[in-house]
Amino acid sequence: MADDTSSWLVQGTLDMLILKTLALEPMHGYGIATRIDQMSQGVFKVNAGSLFPAFRRLERDHLIRSDWRVTENNRNAKYYALTAQGRATLREETRAWEVQTAAIARILKTTS
């Protein structure tokens, strides 16, 4: 698991990335993983061992919901979608994240 960069991802961060991905459109598990990989330009490689528990947690907290759908080539896949609560949380978290990263960036700049 050498490329499991997600292991150092703070749990809340992975959740946020999943929510962000789903904000665009409902998506199945593999799609979400690839999308995160693409969007981070290969920085975050999310492995299944972190991804699926994260889905369960988010479902439990009513931030996402899931249903089985028939996909393009007539296969069944479980699709995840954002709930209203999930959308609100994403908005809040994004704002909080921006404030925090900006603050951290300032601190790092000042001290270096």
């Binding site: 698991m1 593999y30 299944a48 061992g49 699926f52 528990p53 439990r60 479980k78």
Partner: protein
């Protein structure tokens, strides 16, 4: 019903783990497939793609395990949330919560307390080794089995070594002892040497007696109870070999029993001293004066034992043609069953009643909760909108029920432990296996049953609002503007609950009224003697030297004479053995010259008394004469019979002057026909509820030496004094007079009133408890109907306002409300009566002079309930009048 199945579905959904596992499998496979496909599309071979995809994925099992961890965490977290939420929500309605917890505490507390009594008396195994193989040996006739055993039977059974590992005979009584602390009258056990190993009684000091010491004529020995040793000898180790005077003769102390040995399951008063019963192994005596129990060999079932004993009985009849009637046989019964057989029915009935009260209480709380739910419609709808699933909401409501009932259960357990010792003192003496010192035990069964009761209660509590939540629209808009359908549905649900409550209450009330009728009937019974101003005292003459009739007669004469001298005593008498309603002796009789099937004509109660016995007790002499001092052993044998016997055996003729042969083959010594000289009134001598059987009385003076020796060995002399005033006031004077006059200690002083009321104490206890439960049910049902009427009136406020404005009179409005209530009560009563008819038969063995389906009882129970229900509805009905049209419209 539809709702019910839907609820089942919801509950099942909570635990659909298998399905979740299957889904996870499918989802992960899909993930892998897609990864592999993408790699294949990027140019890898199919096999290569699958391999790398799998490698990147990591271990399938690891992933699944992590997901399951989250599920478990989710479950735990969910339960914690539910609990937190339930507590918060209950705290928001403190009045409801307080009422609910209090009601449940009382209900569950009563159930726990009662169950621990049931557990201690009925369920707990006997504290003896291999208790499940312990059986009592019985003589079984057409009407049931009797435990009394004679030496001849014991010796016949003892030969059946293939059936029994051990067989012991025992009898409990009282003896006069003179120990280091002076004389005392203490309880005793006369037992065969097998008793100690059979019941696992070990000694802490010395040894129990052996078979060779348990023979007539062997040197007298005694084994002490631990308590007696502590009290009399201060626990001195050197007690072995000392001599203890018991009933006038020296007994060598062999040992001291372990304190852990408790005979409470066999006798209510723990024996202080244990002496050999001394049954001659070849004895053919038919006098049944002790009990026998044995341990079946491993692998021998009671049925096998019964089959074998039936054969033994046939052999016994051949050997002793006059001992058993043709229909009588021998058999065994598990010892525990025999000990509790008299109380099993009443305990279970009462436990059913107390459980029903709890059920009604739960229904009532569920009803209240329903009202609270209607107020929470908005909240539930909001939660649903925020993504809470229906199962989740149901779970939350059930959690509220659980929190309530377990809080109530905990409070109930505390309440129960406070009440239990007091309650057990109330029932001690009325129940076997419970002595005054022994509180019912709280063991795993009690804890388990309390837990199950709590869970059951919480389901009833939580289910009702949960059903409501499922059926409710859970639509935010329905929150503050509730539709008429919602109101009607709530009303209907509540009405059904009240009907159920009423029906259950009717059943309990019918039971209570039946027992109250029994209680009253027992009090109006004429026992056949005058119970007022009578004092009875006992003296044991069971000691060596008391072998001649003359000796006993001298003591009895002296005692009676001394009593008579006391100022305040109008008549004094004595009876060998008993007074009515305490104990009885039985003897079979034969009427010479009449055709006879079987060994004798009948068995009747039998009394040997002094001449003034009838006068002292106030038993009327109907015909002929009573005994006089002139009836002696050297004069003609005479007997007095009771009216029942006279009517039964001489329906068309005069029994006076007829011969009667009493106790042939049962009494030792000379048994020859006696002449009937008198007829006295019937006395209810076994229990008040049973009409007198055939009864014979003989003059005490006409027992010969052997007969007297046998009788005084088994039974005390009972002194009876009729007094001019309150009998207890003469207690000390009479005790002293008797002790001086007879040279023996006196014990067990009781007034006849006390004896009579003690004889109905168990029945009275049933009545008191059942009435209490009935009243509780009545009260709860009244609260229920009050609540639902108040709710209906409130919901129909607008309608009432309009009706008033349109000219309806207050009376008409009131009728409108009451009409609904009458329907509800009527349906409840009807269902309740059906229920009562179905179950009241279980009470029949507890009733006296009233049939379980007595129509008047049904009518009066229904009338009480209807009256209370109407009164409870009248109050809120009055509120309907206060709604003014203006106020209602303004509210709109």
């Amino acid at each position: 019903m539809v709702v019910f199945w839907r609820l089942i579905g919801v509950v099942r959904g909570l635990w659909r783990r298998e399905q979740a596992d299957r889904e996870l499998d499918a989802e992960l496979r899909d993930f892998l497939d897609r990864a592999a496909e993408e790699r294949e599309a990027a140019g890898s071979t199919r096999a290569e793609a699958a391999r790398t995809a799998r490698a990147a994925f990591g271990g399938m099992d690891v992933v699944k395990e992590r997901v399951r961890e989250v599920s478990l965490e989710t479950l735990v977290e969910g339960i914690r949330q539910d609990l937190r939420f339930a507590v918060r929500s209950l705290r928001r309605s403190p009045a409801f919560t307080a009422v609910a917890i209090f009601t449940l505490a009382v209900g569950i507390g009563a159930n726990t307390a009662f169950f621990s009594v049931v557990n201690t008396v009925l369920l707990r195994s006997l504290p003896f080794p291999d208790a499940d193989r312990l059986v009592a040996l019985l003589t079984i006739g057409p009407t049931g089995g009797g435990p009394a055993v004679s030496p001849a039977k014991l010796n016949a059974w003892r030969r059946e070594t293939a059936l029994f590992e051990r067989l012991a005979a025992y009898q409990f009584g009282s003896v006069n002892v003179v120990g280091p602390n002076g004389p005392a009258y203490v309880s005793s056990g006369s037992v065969s040497s097998d008793f100690f190993p059979l019941f696992g009684a070990t000694t802490v000091l010395g040894r129990p007696f052996e078979a060779s010491e348990d023979l007539p004529g062997a040197a007298p020995v005694v084994v002490l109870s631990h308590g007696f040793w502590q009290r009399q000898y201060g626990g001195a180790a050197a007690v072995g070999g000392q001599t203890l005077t018991i009933n006038g003769s020296g007994h060598t102390v062999l040992g001291v029993l372990a304190p852990s040995f408790d005979a409470v399951d066999l006798t209510a008063t723990a024996p202080e001293v244990w002496i050999p019963l001394g049954i001659e192994p070849a004895s053919q005596s038919q006098a049944a004066y002790f009990f026998a129990s044995g341990r079946l060999r491993a692998g021998v079932s009671p049925e096998q034992a019964n089959a074998r004993l039936a054969i033994v009985a046939e052999g016994f009849k051949k050997q002793f043609p006059t001992a058993l009637r043709p229909t009588v046989t021998f058999g065994v019964q598990p010892l525990r069953g025999l000990i509790v057989r008299d109380v099993q029915r009443s305990l279970l009935v009462l436990y059913g009643a107390v459980a029903t009260v709890l059920l009604i209480a739960c229904v009532n709380i569920g009803n209240l909760n329903l009202v609270r739910m209607t107020g929470r419609q908005a909240e539930m709808a909001m939660r649903a909108a925020l993504g809470a699933s229906r199962p989740r909401i149901v779970r939350q409501l059930l959690t509220e029920g659980i929190v309530l009932s377990f809080a109530g259960g905990a409070a109930g357990l505390v309440l129960g432990t406070i009440v239990l010792p007091r309650a057990s003192r109330l029932v001690a003496g009325q129940l076997p296996r419970l002595s005054a010192e022994l509180t019912p035990q709280v063991d795993w069964r009690v804890v388990l049953v309390t837990t199950v009761t709590c869970v059951a209660a919480s389901v009833v509590l939580g289910l009702l609002p949960a059903l409501h939540a499922i059926r409710g629209s859970l639509n935010p808009s329905s929150g503050d503007n509730r539709s008429g359908t919602d109101v009607r549905r709530t009303l209907r649900a509540r009405t059904c609950l009240v009907v159920a409550e009423l029906a259950l209450a009717v059943v309990l009330l019918v039971g209570a009224v039946l027992l109250v009728r029994t209680f009253a009937a027992l009090r109006t019974i004429d026992p056949g003697f005058d119970r007022t101003n009578l004092l009875s005292l006992r003296t044991s003459l069971s000691e060596p030297g008391m072998t001649t009739a003359a000796r006993i007669a001298a003591i009895v004469d002296s005692g009676v004479g001394r009593m008579r001298e006391q100022t305040g005593v109008t008549t004094a008498a004595a009876s060998l053995c008993c007074v009515p309603l305490e104990n009885q002796g039985y003897l079979p009789f034969i009427i010479p010259g009449r055709p006879l099937e079987g060994p004798y004509h009948d068995v009747g109660t039998w009394w040997s008394v002094t001449p003034d016995y009838f006068e002292a007790l106030g038993i009327p002499l109907l015909k002929g004469r009573a005994f006089t001092d002139a009836d002696r052993l050297d004069t003609e044998g005479v007997v007095v019979i009771n009216q029942t016997m006279a009517r039964r055996f001489w329906p068309d003729s005069d029994p006076l002057g007829q011969p009667l042969l009493l106790g042939k083959n049962y009494l030792p010594g000379t048994v020859s026909p006696r002449r009937i000289v008198g007829i006295v009134g019937d006395v209810r001598d076994t229990t008040l509820s049973r009409a007198a059987a055939s009864t014979t009385y003989i003059p005490m003076r006409q027992l010969d030496d052997e007969q007297v020796a046998l009788v005084v060995k088994a039974a005390p002399v009972v002194w009876i004094a009729r007094t001019a005033g309150e009998p207890r006031r003469l207690e000390r004077a009479l005790t002293r007079a008797l002790e001086i006059g007879t040279g023996h200690p006196v014990a067990r002083v009781r007034t006849m009133e006390e004896i009579v009321s003690a004889s109905t104490a168990r029945s009275d206890l049933n009545t008191v408890l059942m009435s209490g439960f009935g009243l509780a049910a009545l009260l709860l049902a009244a609260i229920g109907i009050y609540g639902v009427t108040a709710y209906a009136v409130e919901q129909r406020a607008r309608e009432f306002g309009i009706r008033r404005a349109l000219g309806a009179t207050p009376l008409q409005l009131r009728q409108l409300v009451l009409r609904h209530c009458i329907t509800v009560t009527g349906v409840g009563l009807l269902l309740g009566i059906v229920g009562a008819l179905a179950v009241s038969r279980v009470l029949s063995s507890l009733l006296f002079d009233v049939a379980p389906r007595d129509p008047w009882v049904l009518v009066s129970a229904s009338a009480i309930l209807a009256g209370v229900a109407m009164a409870a509805a009248w109050l809120p009905a009055g509120r309907a009048l206060r709604h003014e049209i203006n106020a209602v419209l303004r509210h709109e």
